[in-house]
């Protein structure tokens, strides 16, 4: 048996065109083996499919890979033991078989459409011209006034600068609370700078501040300042106070 599938050094783009997709390749294998579609020897077909896409370098094409994975899954499902006379058992091949039959029907329509296309191509209408392969666009005919008028129209369409809409980031009080609790576990006292962390944004500052106030309220810590506007000192509350 000589396979029409040939290895080609030019890469898989050419080969991809030989098969219009994984279903096409599958149908080709099924026809070659002359097996019954409705009773697919799935293990054999899966192995052939894998070896062909490997030979063709198609194993980088996602559609083919997906089909390969599907085939292997069906193959595995077929191997699972099941009770005799189990009515609940659903043939794992059923969906694939349905798609193959549907696709086979499409292929038959493609043959029909191809013949219709060929028959139509043998009759010429009046003034028919084959679409030019790559006709250059007609040269622009325009004078300076047209150009200026067009530019003006475009400029008038530019809207006035829109004010930037600021979407507030929600405060992350939970995150700040967790961070402060972690610091409390390690240090008895620490400063505002440690609490807020490096490179704090406005949102971080607000979140941290609210978290500190909340923790102070719950008596998890005490806040103090040695002088007005002086640095804030955060101190772990003693167990007695926390209780």
């Amino acid at each position: 048996m000589t396979s029409p599938i040939m290895r080609d050094q030019t890469g898989f783009v050419v080969e991809l065109e030989k098969f219009s997709g994984p279903l096409d390749l599958l149908l080709h294998l099924i026809r070659e083996d002359e097996v019954d579609i409705t009773d697919l020897p799935i293990a054999k077909i899966a192995d052939q499919f894998l070896s062909v896409i490997n030979d063709l370098g198609l194993n980088e094409a996602a559609d083919y890979l997906e089909m390969a994975a599907r085939l292997l899954r069906i193959k595995a499902q077929m191997l699972l033991p099941r009770r005799m006379g189990d009515d609940e058992w659903e043939d794992p091949r059923a969906e694939l078989v349905r798609r193959l039959l549907e696709y086979q029907q499409i292929r038959e329509l493609v043959d029909w459409l191809g013949r219709a296309q060929d028959a139509r191509a043998e009759r010429f209408g009046r003034g028919y011209e084959a679409p030019p392969a790559d006709a250059p666009p007609a040269p622009l005919q325009i004078d300076l006034n047209d150009l200026l008028a067009a530019a003006e129209r475009v400029i008038s369409l530019i809207p006035d600068p829109m004010p930037h809409r600021v979407v507030p980031r929600p405060l992350d009080v939970e995150g700040a609370t967790a961070r402060i609790n972690a610091l409390l576990a390690e240090h008895e006292t620490f400063g505002w700078k440690e609490a807020v962390g490096p490179q704090a944004t406005l949102v971080d500052v607000l979140s941290t501040f609210i978290a500190l106030l909340e923790l102070a309220k719950r008596s998890s810590l005490t806040l103090s300042q040695t002088e007005p506007f002086g640095p804030m000192v955060i101190q772990r509350a003693t167990p007695r106070e926390a209780a």
Binding site: R98, L101, A121, G125
Partner: protein, 182 residues
Amino acid sequence: MQPLAKLLEAALFAASRPLTLEELASLDPDVAESAIRAALDEIRTTYDGHHGVELVEIAEGWQFLTRREYAETIERAQFALRPRRLSPAALETLAIIAYRQPVGRLEVDEIRGVDSGAVMDKLVERGLIEVVTRGEGLGRPLLYGTTPSFLEILGLKDLEDLPRLEELSVALRRPTPVDEPE
């Protein structure tokens, strides 16, 4: 030929595309559609077997086309060229859209088992399919249908000219349940 038949003959000769019944009727608003049809029949009979061109019913209209037997000679002389054939992928996509229209891209992808976006874009560009409506459901997907150009390049009168699915040798049917796997 009747005067009306001559008028239609002239119009059809001048046009480079099929003319629909409505278009032909617009030539003379006083004439009934039945008279137009009769005149078209008259032209067809006149040309039938006596001329190198014939009146063909195509794409929901009528057009003068050369007879098939002259295609090769005309083409060899390069007076006219056959249009390029559509690729199998394009025909596959067209077949699905023709039978399932209006149909979305996802369904086409699913039936073909490959991404069909690029093929469908090309078919839209060539005017063979077009967006006809939007579907229900998530994102209201664009649904596509075939155009008169689709009928024209295939030489079809209308969509009824396509083979019925029951006529295909491979009828779409439910797979018969299998008792025992291999």
